[in-house]
């Protein structure tokens, strides 16, 4: 079963799924910026409209790839999902040290926690910020409910786990977050989606060390303009992982991480020709409300309305497209 914000679903019910999308996207602390103009009503309306367009183009499910920290709003997701009648799967986990606030950046930090001991009066235990500490946070988001503002746990559960790392290296804080995410994913039986392609190899090693099976791992952002590498992608696919081209629509080549969709389609085609159709994930990293980054122009339906026709022009068969958009998400999210 797969957990969406509307509850558990059978993997077959997901339909065509885009695994790397965002409703809101904001870095922690944005609430303190007086110049951020966040209008919840307007965001709801535009997100519902965009998702209906996605649905009309054949889409069934998106994963809100925010993780715990990047502007995820569980109640908003649930509301939008119901109004648009599109499944939304929320994520837990962190996205790399640069996107992680100070509270989680000091691995090993200790805290004395007073607990009541019936015989001796008050005693205490020492807690440490480590992988198990974070695993507990992520696991509870998967099984009890996601944390929300105002020190409240919502009733909406996350359905996948994400990991990330800084561009130049996997820092110590990144490593405990990756291990924590892996342990939570393993215990809850959910998939792991990575981001930060420059450090994909190290993340992969850590995930395997923690006992995550390759077929529950999606290596995200393989179409990042700074790190295109088809040999790497083939290698991950050969080992049974999924490789994701999820920056579709980000074509402004003045930005180093963007490439034209034309080139992206060639990458996908090459992977298919090499026999890896069953290991490909596609998504367009659209953002309905971008708060801490520039607003991208394309929306969720770009994948189906623009990129899929482009693949068809390259003589990719409908059945292969269906494998990539329906069967692959079903297998990785559902597990078998």
């Amino acid at each position: 079963m797969v957990m969406t914000v509307k509850g558990e679903m059978r993997p077959e019910e997901l339909g065509w799924a885009a695994l790397f999308e965002h409703i809101l996207f904001a870095f922690p602390g944005w609430e303190n910026d007086p110049w951020v103009d966040f209008n919840r009503a307007q965001v709801t309306e535009s997100a519902v409209a965009s998702l209906r367009e996605f649905k009309n183009a054949g889409g069934g499910t998106i994963v809100d790839f925010n993780g715990t920290l990047l502007g995820r709003d569980a109640e908003l997701l649930a509301n939008i999902s119901s109004l648009a009648d599109v499944n939304i799967i929320a994520t837990t986990g962190f996205s790399g040290q640069d996107f992680t606030p100070g509270h989680f950046l000091f691995p090993g930090a200790t805290r004395r926690r007073d607990i009541l001991d019936q015989q001796a009066g008050i005693t205490y235990e020492v807690q440490r910020l480590d992988a198990d500490y974070l695993a507990k946070i992520f696991y509870e988001e998967l099984t009890l409910g996601m944390v929300g503002p105002g020190m409240m746990r919502t009733s909406f559960k996350a359905g996948v786990v994400k990991t990330g790392a800084n561009w130049d290296r996997v820092t110590e804080a990144d490593e405990i977050a990756i291990r924590g995410a892996a342990r939570a994913a393993k215990k809850a039986g959910v998939a792991v989606l990575t981001t930060g392609i420059s450090q994909a190899q190290r993340q992969w090693e850590i995930l395997l060390e923690e006992g995550i099976k390759p077929d529950r791992i999606v290596i995200g952002r393989c179409d990042d303009g700074r790190a295109i590498d088809l040999e790497r992608d083939k290698e991950f696919a050969r080992k049974g992982a999924f490789v994701s081209y999820n920056h579709i629509g980000w074509e402004d080549t003045s930005l180093p991480y963007c490439i034209p969709d034309e080139r992206r389609a060639e990458l996908v085609k090459t992977m298919i020709k090499n026999g890896f159709a069953e290991n490909i994930i596609l998504s367009c990293d659209a953002v309905c409300c971008a708060i801490s980054i520039p607003q991208p122009k394309h929306s969720y339906s770009h994948l189906l309305k623009s990129f899929v026709p482009r693949l068809k022009k390259l003589r990719i068969k409908d059945s292969v497209i269906d494998t990539i958009l329906r069967e692959n998400p079903k297998r990785v999210l559902g597990g078998k």
């Binding site: 922690p28 944005w30 910026d33 007086p34 920290l69 000091f106 200790t110």
Partner: protein, 317 residues
Amino acid sequence: MAYINTVLGPVHPDEISVTAIHEHLMSGLPGWEYDPDFWFDMGTAFEDCYNAVMDFKLLGGQTYVECSGISSARDLDIYVKLASSIRDMHIIASTGFLGDSNIAPHFRRKDAAYFEELFVREITHGMGKTGVKAGVISIGASENFTGLEEMVYRAAARAATRTGAAVITQGVQTIFKQLQILNDEGLDSSRIVISHLDSNGFTNLERDKQIARTGAYIAYDRIGTQNTPRNIFGMPDEDRLKLILNLLDAGLQDHILLSTSSQCQSLGWGESNVHSVSHLLRYFLPRLRKAGVDEATINTLLVENPRNVLTIQQRLT
């Protein structure tokens, strides 16, 4: 016009008397709110804050300066409610960032010009989306003094010069670098408070005299802390007293500030309510008197100096 920005609005400087210049009601690194282990009961937390501040008031305290700055658990609802609940108790909130790890990711991509406008706005229009105005700029530097911190320091100096608000700075490892940046940006030393000079392992009488002689204020604001493995900067009050007596002998009473840096509610990896702001008046004040410090000098330290720091002289820009 000269005024002091409290969370309930501007007051005339003469309305301000006994002041704790560096305190924290809620204190935590950004992100604590995503960690359910640190969630707390708001009613109990408010009660703790209320009891601490009320205790301070009953001992003669009258003004409480909250130095947490932006994205370190600043909670304007609590400040305003406290100030409205305790008669004749002034709560002053701060803008600024306490140090690199206190700067939430959203702000880590901004530049000095952005920070300057942000601080000016919080002092002249209101903090966040509220109309509650900050009274001081509270900033800090880590021992590495990162590039981001330098940006914040430059912005704070410019915002202080534009608005007339003072800068309270912490980070004992890099004091002279901090002072230099603030002065480089044209901030008058008399608008600078150097905090935490009574940090265990980092005390230095000659350094403090040197800072005071530039016209800046020197704050002994860890009063009441104990030196434990979990509070490495804590030190006994008697050592602190010796420093202060030496500075008074050197005639530097117009530059000394006192406070406790207590935290009513710690939302991070520290501990709550280890000591209280009341310690300043309940235990440290008698210690000063017993050491022969006269009432006029005590008034200078607890009333006049903080009043001068907090007073904003209206500027044209």
